[in-house]
Every structure is written in C-alpha cells, then in structure tokens.
Assembly symmetry: C3
Homo-oligomer: 262 residues x 3
C-alpha cells in the first residue's frame, strides 16, 4: 500500500449513467487496494460553487485521502488539470475554483502541480471525460505513492482560479450573509461561520420579516418555527422544526439573508 489508502470522489456526473463507475474502474485498474468514498455525484451539472462547498465541508471528516473532484464545464479546453498538496491530503481536479475551499479546509495550499504527464493518463485522453482518463488515474497514482512532481510542472498558487468570496457583512445587532447551500432537509446554510452568532440576540428576525430564534437543535423551537443555529459544518444555518426553511425563506444559493436581533 502506498501513501493513501483512500480516495474520495465528488462529481456532477449523477448516477443514471455509467460515468461514476468508469472513474471507479480507472482507480481499480491502477490502485486496486485503494478504497473509494463517494462524497456526492449529485452536484448540479456544472455547478462548481456547489461542488466546492460540499467537498470543503466533507473532506475534513474523511480519513486522510486523495480527494478527486470533477465538476468541469471547461473539460477539453486549455483550463489546467491540477493536484494540490495540503497538510490534510491531496486534491485532484480541474483548475476552476472547485478545489480551493477544500484546500483551505484541509490546512491550506502547500504545493500545486499541473497534471500534464501523459504517462499518468489512462488510455487515449478523451476530450470530454477527464474524470475517467485523467483525474481518477492521477488520484490513483498519487495514492500509490507517486510524487506530485512526476505529474507535471509546479504551478504558482497565486495563479489558481478562485471562486468569488461569498458575501458576509456584520453590523450592530445584525449580520447578513449569502446562502451557501440548501440541504436535503431544506435547511439553509449561510456563508457566515458560527462565531458571528455572538453579534445577535436570542430572538431574531430574518430579512426584516420572518421571526426566528437562536438554538442548538431543531427541537429547540416549536414545530413549524424557525431556528438559527450553528450547523454540523460550523456554519450559521436556518431550519424549521419539522419543516423546510428553504420554503419559508424562499431563497436559493447566492441570495442574501439578513439576521437581526428582534
């Protein structure tokens, strides 16, 4: 066994087609003893921002891994394929901002290479499926112990594509933050981290109209009532006990939510 016993996969491939299995196949052919944890394959097609958030919030809870992520609308263009070394694992995927938040969550960017070594590819590189032909094979070789420097030339971290920082502003008795994600339960996660909750009171109002209360878990408010809490990823989130906050707030990722003391 090489340097990493685990590879994680995060894609927008869905599970209707055989794309995810082909990536598993590439890994199994190169590194059969390595095991794979699927983070999610239901990133909405081409939604790099969503992919970046789910990867960044999940990777720290996995064993030290090579995290292979592919949400890649620029596949086949001259966008770079990269590998990023961090204190907490390696990230492999396209240079479109997808990997950077996870790199920060894993301790920061140590080194970056551009994956251009053709010997690392599997078969002829297709122009539309780098998950199978480039990224999963690279992740497998790295898991087996290959040096990143064998994968291609170093990249200056300052040249990496980065997503715009989400909006968060804090004021007197309020904060305002962009919606990062909405989960399966309809809970609305904001870009603000939990510490900002010190700025507001217990009785709150959202977007100037909807009453909510601070709490720690869903049942801290009555069924149907709104709760503002620090979620399991350390972010501020809004939930409805026995309900769906996303419906009450009528928001979507990127929208702003203002949380004020009532």
């Amino acid at each position: 066994m090489g340097r990493y016993e685990w590879i994680s996969l995060t894609t927008d491939y869905g599970t209707f087609d055989g794309f995810v299995a082909a990536c598993h196949g590439s890994i199994a052919r190169i590194a059969p003893d390595v095991r794979v944890i699927d983070i999610t394959h239901h990133v909405p097609p081409a939604d790099v921002t969503r992919g970046a958030h789910v990867l960044a919030q999940t990777a720290p809870y996995l064993p030290e891994s090579v995290h292979c992520a592919v949400v890649d609308p620029g596949v086949g263009t001259d966008r770079r394929g990269i590998a990023i070394a961090t204190p907490g694992g390696i990230l492999v995927g396209p240079d479109n901002g997808l990997l950077v938040p996870a790199a920060e969550a894993l301790g920061g960017i140590d080194t970056v290479v551009e994956l251009s070594n053709k010997d690392w590819f599997l078969g002829d590189l297709s122009r539309t499926f780098h998950g199978r032909d480039l990224f999963a094979p690279a992740a497998a070789r790295i898991a087996l112990g290959a040096e990143l420097a064998e994968g291609g030339p170093p990249v200056d971290a300052d040249t990496l594509v980065r997503l715009p920082a989400p909006v968060v502003s804090v004021g007197d008795g309020y904060f305002e933050a962009e919606v990062l994600t909405v989960d399966r339960f309809g809970n609305v996660q904001l870009a603000a981290t939990g510490g900002v909750l010190d700025r507001v009171g217990q009785e709150l109002v959202l977007n100037g109209g909807v009453r909510a209360r601070r709490g720690a878990t869903f049942a801290d408010v009555d069924p149907g009532d709104l709760l503002v809490y620090e979620d399991s990823a350390g972010q501020v989130a809004v939930a409805v006990n026995n309900g769906r906050a996303v419906v009450v707030l009528s928001v979507t990722p990127g929208d702003l939510v203002k949380v004020s003391t009532r």
Copy 2:
C-alpha cells in the same frame, strides 16, 4: 479484524449532500478494514416507519453486521441513542422505533444499551449530526469488538420506543391490511405476511372494486392485470404486470387494502 467485518448504513440523508460520506469517513477513521453496505439513504426525510421497514426487510440478507440506521428527527433532544444486540447482529441508532422491527427480523432483542460514553464519540458531538459524530463511530467501535456495555448503561427493552403495529385483520374469505411500502416498481406491499393468502381464493377483488388474481410472479397475469402474491420479503403484495399497482390502487403507506375472494 474484530467481531464484525461489515457495517450497514440506512439513513434519510439523501445523496445530494456530503452527509453519507461523512458517516463513511467516521467508520473509515475508526475501523478502516470494516466494509460498508449502504442499504438506502433515500428514506423520506424523518419517515421513521419507512426506515424501519426497509431495514427490517434487508438486514437478514446481509452478512452478520453492525447495522447503523439514522432517521432521527429528534436529534439533539433527550431521545436516547441505543445499540441493540440480537442473535443475528447489532443495531445502532436513535431510540424512536427505527430499530425494533429489524431486531425482531434478526431474532429478537437480547440486550440494549444507551450510547452515552463520550469516549465513543468522534470529535465534539454536534447537536444536529449524530450519524457522523455518534452512531457511525459507535458502529465502528462495536465492529472492532468493543463490548456494548462499554458504550453505556443497560436499557430495559420494555422502555424502548416502538412504532404502532400496522393494521392487519383477517375474516371469512378476506383479509385487510395496511400498506407498508410502495417500491420503485409501484408494487404495493401490505403488512400481512404471505400465510394469510390461504384465507382467500384465486380470483380476488381489492377494496371491493378492483379485480385481481393470486399468482407467484408478474407474468402470471396478463399485462395490465393485477396480481396478489407473496413478495421476496415474505409479505403480501399487489403488482400490475408491466404496470404500477400504486397507480391503479391509488394508495399510500398507511392506507388499508382489503383483499376478498371474488
């Protein structure tokens, strides 16, 4: 390797977020050699009854395992986290009725403990994600051979929360039973077990109006016709050959279906 080489996971987490992967991560960090079988993560949110049925009907077909199940609308309240020992494996999850039908399917409840030993948690226990922080780690420790008694104090099985028993009644030439589940194919599974089919004839009528016939497999009736059969879990079920019984019967779990000799 400890006492169990397999852990199963059943949740309502869906596969859009990274929640399932975080549970896999907790297991991999504690018990990397244990392997995981995902039963389903598409239990409808907070539908404890559905989770209980799918777990009870699947667990007996897995190798002897630690079955970790999390459908947990009461997360973070004082509802107990428990582990149940049975002759056919261990069950881990919240004390809300989710585990009891599976315990019965695996041979009955031997012992129960409340999972309160903080040394078994992974990291700080969040108030909203006990799958990652409590239940998956506990399952991993048990799989490695930890004694249940190390996890917390014994629980009197009579105090466990139990789901209401589904309605089944049997009469002269008929039986009536609650719908337990509707599967992907639209087959309608009833709470009655297959033996009750001895009470009715071959030519049947459902809910007083819809004609059906007894059989053993779908093609025993013409395409579009209704079949009443014992399904692969040993329950009475209604199917339409080449069609969806749920549409014909227009039922949902909890509704009653009366099956009478025609």
Copy 3:
C-alpha cells in the same frame, strides 16, 4: 482470492428500496473478499435496452470483472438465467438481450451456460427477486473460481435473445441514426460510431433544421450552440455548450436524428 476480484452490478432497482443492498449482501455472504463496483441502479424500470447500453459502454473501463446485470421484467417466467464468458470478463443475468452488447464490447461471446444448478442459488429461489437469490450469488461463485459449466448446461449462442440492432444509415453527405441514450447533461448519444463523422463536413444541420458544428469538446462552439462530436464511448453525440441538446432536439431514445452537411 479466486479468478475475479471485482463484480459489477447494473440494475433497474433504484436506490429507494433495499434491493441493491440485498444483492451486495448475497455477494458478501458468498465471496466476502470480492469488491463490487455499482455501474448504475437507475436504469428505468424494465428498460432492457438502456441497461444493455450503459453496461456495454462502461464494462470495458472496469478491471476484469464478473458483470452482474438485472433488468428483468420476465423474472419468474421460463426466460433463462445465463452466464456468458468473453475474453474480457464474465456476464451474468437474464437472457433477454441485456448482456449481449456488453459481451460484444468485451471481445465477443466465447461460451454460454444456463444457470440452473440449484446449489448455486442462495436460500429458496423467490419468484420475483432473482438478483438477490440467483444472479448475485452466481456472480459471487464465479468470482471465487467456480467453472461456468458447474452452473448449468451449455447454451447455443445463436439461441440467445438479442435486442433489435439500432437503426444507422449512411448516405452522401449525411448519416441518420437512432438515439441510444441521453445522459445527465442532456447530451444525445447516437447509435452511429465516431468513424461515420468522416462522411459529413464541419458545418452541419440536424433533422433538416437545426444548425450544428463538428468539434471535439463542448467549448469548441459558442455557449448555446450545437456540437456534433465523438463522445467518450466512441459514439457520435450531440451536445449544446452550456445547455441541453435533448431539449433543443426534443428527442428520446429510439428517435432518429439525421446529420447532414450544411
């Protein structure tokens, strides 16, 4: 370890029920060291054609495996259960056409047997769930090294059920082909293989009305424009850069698309 370290699974079982897990369970009980790659479980119910295509296009990218596929509307009838040996692996499933395209993709049919040896079944054979009771157990036994001939008597390959060949016709400056599949991204894959693109020019028209251009990857055309390309499975496909070709073309599998030089 026996002859195959990997089994792949392709079904129409979905992931809402416990059916897939029960198949994993059957494999784990018989061949615990074998590892499973799930190709997809979201073949539309009873859509044998779709199952055949996704299996044929994915299996070649997996390590040499026993490929177990179950899309089986005739379960419990006298349709045969079969295993097919090919130069690139073994295929196990119902004799309804599902396995033949994959057999061709893996190098052609060497030998076929009918799976009738009751000692290979697991438990009593249900009439409605041969994935759990027959096909997954057979795949596990074969992976462990059992000879196909132990599974049942030989079958003449000429007697296998085969799907109708999809329509492909080639003319002067055009070709016409059936839609094989539409993937998650809305890309429309045709039955014609990439070589047929030599018959047409760079500037194209689809179905006599929609303008498109040849290219190699999505960004070879402007956002919203149509691209005709050889996809990662070697088939001709139609995509829209940043969009969904299936919506523009308004086609479904089985429909014809005519690609002509403009």
